[in-house]
Symmetry: C2
Subunit: 344 residues, 2 copies
Amino acid sequence: MNPLAQTNPHRRFNPLKQEWVLVSPNRTQRPWQGQMEKPVVAAALTYDPDCYLCPGNIRAGGARTDKYTSTYVFENDYAALKLDAPRFSNDEDGKGILIAEGESGVCRVVCFSPRHDLTLANMTVPEIRAVVDVWAEQYRELGSRDDIAYVQVFENRGAMMGASNPHPHGQIWASRSIPNEIVSELAGQRAYLEERKCCLLCAYQEMEIRLGERVVATNESFVAVVPYWAVWPFEVMILPLRHITDLEAMTAAERDDFASMLQSVTSTYDRVFDTPFPYSMGLHPQPVDGEKHPEWHFHTHFYPPLLRSATIRKFMVGYELLGSPQRDITAESAAEVLRKAAAR
Amino acid sequence: MNPLAQTNPHRRFNPLKQEWVLVSPNRTQRPWQGQMEKPVVAAALTYDPDCYLCPGNIRAGGARTDKYTSTYVFENDYAALKLDAPRFSNDEDGKGILIAEGESGVCRVVCFSPRHDLTLANMTVPEIRAVVDVWAEQYRELGSRDDIAYVQVFENRGAMMGASNPHPHGQIWASRSIPNEIVSELAGQRAYLEERKCCLLCAYQEMEIRLGERVVATNESFVAVVPYWAVWPFEVMILPLRHITDLEAMTAAERDDFASMLQSVTSTYDRVFDTPFPYSMGLHPQPVDGEKHPEWHFHTHFYPPLLRSATIRKFMVGYELLGSPQRDITAESAAEVLRKAAAR
Ligand SMILES: O=P(O)(O)O[C@H]1O[C@H](CO)[C@@H](O)[C@H](O)[C@H]1O
Ligand SMILES: O=P(O)(O)O[C@H]1O[C@H](CO)[C@@H](O)[C@H](O)[C@H]1O
């Protein structure tokens, strides 16, 4: 690692999204007098009669959650996307400025466990493997539809990240169009493949394993790294060692290893500040738009907001929204903190 | 406005950034059981002995804030950018993946008023005009340097938007490189000019004034609209009616009108939920990279997070971070709420 980069302001390039991030390691001494977050309290009850995701309970929309015993999938009662949404497209005024088009899709909720008090971090690997199987099955089913081009599996964990319920669950939003982030990642991976005749993320994971300084965890099939171009303080990306495009392409052993890697990353996070670590997490499989995507390497992003303690977060505000993302701690020092937390 | 778009999920295209936003007007009925923000309390003291921005006080870094009487500019004590940062650039490993380069620049703080309890919304127009003059002067001074290509003026207002101090102030981050958002907006404006032989935002503001449904306020020289492609619930863009590239190109009357427009937008915001409305705000003048930018139209963005009340915000999390931004209320209904608030 260039030692100049460890102590001086610099920019790093994200080759996946083809964007820069500003890194200011010199800024970590800054005292914080701003907003303190409410410390997160772990859910204590195994069953909460007021939780709409606990087995057998009635949800806000009036439907009843089944008495499930492992995982449970249902259509979001307040879906942002609907399959029967009308198709239209307009350029009001004909000036190429007011451009809109109807968008259709499906929003589902995936409960990870009937137990209200669990999280990915304290579920067993076989239990998480059941979640991975559900994701793979959903990806297959939704991906086989002609009117779905992308299946976005994600989890908002913790109130700080907009989760409205601590019950362990994630969501799936599947859409007719390919979302912005995927459009960028397609372009980045395509450009690299064309220019270098090899897969960007294959080359990246090999290099990270060799260099070691940003690696958080490894197993037989996966590596977890703080990406060189990380934006969030303790951002992590999980990469399969093999060139796999999506969940369906995984062997049974790889699915187990993926479950185990999800468990290590989330439980490591919880140890950093001895608090249930909030994050948004999401899988990035290849699009299901009917095209071939040899450039695409399956990966999983974790975007956690905490910066210095259980109550001090990084704000993505002014400069970040209007200019470029900015971070204080380097990816290398974040990885070191995570490795130490993992070893505790 | 296409009536289908008022009630059904659709995407709208942002021609400035060339990105899509997902709009789900069908989702506003969703009950909210998630995080409630602390209601914002307006600062009551005109002078706070513990505030490092009040005249005459000592700051965390040890420096003393002058006994200023109008506006006050100083170098950020914990600057993310420094002018003397070493220049380097590396492609560690030579694979075009670990790309970094030294970044230099200046970070300054601009106090808007010596009064601790004021905000742009309750300052007088001549007082805000003094702030506009400071911004113009800073833009001129920093922009004349060879090692500065962009001058980003912004304000984070409210603890929810990462402001660490309620004293009315903003920041200026000026950098050797052009930040991501500006790179996108340059591309969007250039593409439009090339294709249509006219300025994107000139065409846009004329059309918005004619249609009226997204207009929040107008005066002799400016219009404030909820952009057709707004991401934040009550996002606003202020546009000069004339094709002006930056603050320096404004006449004295236009500077007054800009001050007055800033006052109306911020005071309208405060009336929406009867609370000091948090936001990040920023000016987007043309880059100061020594190139000509005939495509560039000066504009100001307001990104406020509140959605349904003083304590319920929009979270930009899971799908937004991993897929595309998503909003529930349409730009047209947000503009209507703002117009009603303005009339109260
Ligand atoms: O410089 P400040 O006000 O301490 O910091 C605030 O604004 C900066 C620029 O948007 C952000 O990077 C910080 O996360 C935020 O807390
Ligand atoms: O669908 P939920 O969990 O109610 O909502 C949460 O996740 C969504 C998808 O990231 C966001 O749009 C919402 O702002 C957030 O509160």
